[in-house]
Symmetry: C2
Subunit: 440 residues, 2 copies
């Protein structure tokens, strides 16, 4: 059996490894347009910000390791077409290549800003490590930058550019950072820490044009011009699906490939995984696309196991998320009040301000937890947090609570570790749940 994977990111390589695990004798071929696989693109903003000393640190495995593992990776190779009837693909420079199982993992692109000058020099779309290495040299002589919309990577770049002492103006149509997943009182400390870092934040503003001769000199916005020799494009991720669309594979409302729990597409023997696919949200049933690298990797593994003849299912997602934002950690599960209201969901909230260790213990950090619950079922529908430590672990916990439908009553009565150096007497998740119960 021959399994062909298009895409060398987290989903593609997860799929290749899992297909090999499920079907050890299968021939596994991966096509990628890029020079590299098996590095961590999520680390790029932190190298730009000098938190990590070298791009080399981001590589997880060498090309030799893939050769040795028996996965045949074709680098800098473009797949031009899929023929589902013949079960072949057309590869630039290789011609027609057959497959028994095909896994599409073509990922995402930044959404087109849709304004004049979007193809000008000086517009940086953070994504590929080789381009990042080139851009990092550009940053050495960059004086001022505009961040166009506050997506996850763009938010990390905001902090990184300030660490490089570059003047930063953030232009976002939202009323506050991360407005689709977090509420204003939760992101307020982050906003404040960017203010303290000297970022000029223009919320409720929109870029209308990128201007310059060959390369950017200024950005026009609804609220006036901003001088900048660099723009970081932080628009929403859109699925990279021209190939799938041309092959007649069914796409959904997000433009992502529709898949079932086995990651099968609408066409037999073709699977999809990662940011090119869409997955239903566990709470709202609304299809989502553009999730995290861990989602892409898990979807890839499911697609690989399925393609390899094994049995694995991927389920609706509850989307725990988290990040370093300014001087804070920010995170949560599912969505905030804005999205819940837009979806017409009925909900009550509970919030708690707590601490991460005993009040007197060195390194203690503040933490705020906000929970949203359905008043009928008393189950969580979302959570948000801001704090100094323990955000990722709590987001994982609350994601599992949301998925399994553990009630707020149960969460309010949770047991928690108390030990001065590592945890406070009162767990803020429990207190937020207790406060939410008072509203029920």
């Amino acid at each position: 059996m021959k399994v062909v994977v298009i895409g060398g990111g987290a989903a593609g390589l997860g799929a290749a490894g899992a297909a090999q695990g499920a079907s050890p004798d299968a021939e596994i071929v991966v096509y990628t347009e890029f020079e590299d696989v098996a590095y961590s693109p999520c680390g790029i903003p932190f190298v730009h910000g000098k938190d990590i000393d070298s791009f080399d640190r981001l590589f997880l495995a060498t090309k030799e390791q893939y050769v040795q593992s028996g996965i045949d990776v074709h680098y800098e190779t473009t797949v031009e077409a899929i023929d589902p009837t013949a079960k072949t693909i057309t590869v630039a420079g290789e011609g027609v290549v057959s497959y028994d199982k095909l896994i599409i993992a073509t990922g995402w692109l930044y959404g087109d800003p849709g304004v004049p000058g979007s193809d000008l020099g000086g517009l940086y779309r953070v994504k590929d490590i080789r381009r990042a290495m080139e851009w990092d040299k550009v940053l050495d002589s960059t004086k001022s930058a505009v961040i166009v919309e506050s997506g996850f990577i763009a938010m990390e770049m905001t902090t990184a550019l300030r660490h490089r002492d570059i003047d930063v103006t953030l232009v976002d149509p939202g009323a506050w950072p991360m407005s689709d997943v977090a509420d204003p009182e939760i992101v307020e400390p982050v906003r404040k820490s960017w203010e303290d870092l000297g970022v000029d934040m223009q919320w409720g503003n929109k870029v209308t044009a990128f201007r310059g001769a060959d390369t950017l000199t200024h950005v026009e916005t609804d609220q006036g011009d901003v001088q900048a020799d660099l723009a970081i494009i932080g628009t929403h991720k859109v699925p990279n699906n021209p190939l799938a669309k041309a092959a007649g594979i069914k796409l959904g409302s997000t433009g992502g490939i529709i898949v079932n729990a086995r990651m099968e597409t609408s066409i037999v023997d073709i699977y999809a995984a990662g940011d090119c696919a869409e997955i239903p949200h566990g709470v709202s049933n609304v299809p989502l696309q553009g999730l995290s690298g861990s989602h892409a990797y898990a979807q890839g593994k499911t697609a690989g196991v399925s393609a390899g003849g094994g049995d694995r299912e991927y389920r609706p997602v509850y989307v725990p998320w988290g990040m370093l934002a300014g001087e804070w950690m920010l995170g949560g599960v599912s969505f905030g009040e804005t999205t819940a209201t837009a979806l017409g969901l009925n909900f009550v909230t509970g919030i708690a301000n707590g601490i991460t260790r005993a009040r007197y213990y060195p390194g203690v950090k503040p933490i705020t937890v906000k929970l949203l619950a359905d008043p009928e079922s008393r189950r969580l529908i979302g959570a948000q947090m801001v704090g100094g430590e323990g955000i990722k672990e709590r987001a994982d916990f609350l994601s599992m609570m949301t998925r399994t439908g553990i009630t707020v009553d149960e969460i309010a009565n949770m047991e928690n570790v108390y030990s001065p150096a590592i945890g406070a007497l009162n767990e803020p998740i429990a207190v937020a749940a207790q406060n939410l119960l008072k509203e029920l």
Copy 2:
């Protein structure tokens, strides 16, 4: 209504506050033998170790704050007897005092080492803050110390004394540290870090006598004499129940007061909470006593609400625990293989070695997660972890998984946050569950 509380620790004060909340007009009186209430005894080892600069930092509230809140605390006052028929107590210096509801929160004492010389000078039982202030001066001139058994506080004292450059010999009858809750491969890094700190560890050894004229000069053990001018008594907690016993209140197999879910004892209008009570373990149904301060506080609140006429229940415990141990954080839920085997439970295990952030991100720490599950129900019965961060939050999570019976299958498929600065691509809890599934 008059609510009388005997004991000014976490359970007693939790009870007093909760009784006042449930019954705002009630008269609330607290009796304590000590000079203080509302401080954190758990912080004492860290002040001794100079991690925290002053004992004053451990106080949470002033005596005035209690006066203002309307809770009448009688300090340095001994309750001598309880008369359940007359509904009175006898108080030294006050005479007979009546109650409508009585809450017993008399806490714990260190178990008697049961060897000659146990009343000698130089034996330090870490517990009360005033005594700790006195002992801290003694530590300035202490050259060598023996730690007698490796209870939680004694383990923290081991590290603290090394921070003070005192020679430390640890004598414990167990084969490795924390042998009743953790397995050897989990505590091995802790053992190693104590070795690196220069602690002389004598596992499988037992103190047979404390020797000296007035004050300690050496300790006799099964394996020979140890010179020491100080001994830290780290024996198991025993419930402090002479009062309850004399009053005819029913005690259980641990010596703890038997309570129902409302924290009612065998005698009407008498409640108990904290380390003087015993609570069934959720997995084994075996009664437990000597839990953490957060358990005592939660039990106190339940007793207080019940006594105040409100409705609240305390449930069997799954006992998430955690601590700083040597250079590591150690934690878990329920128990390890030793106790599971002793209880005759059938189980399988899964272990994973992971990391807490992206491999390349500054501050990344190793973490090992070990899970025990029942092969029939596929539910967790215990967990243990050692690592550098995120131990408390994961113990809370795994405790909730154990309590609610979420299966290992579900845990193996959990979603997790991936963001380089705060979490790794693979969550070690999920990987441990995946490894456990391979054994099923």
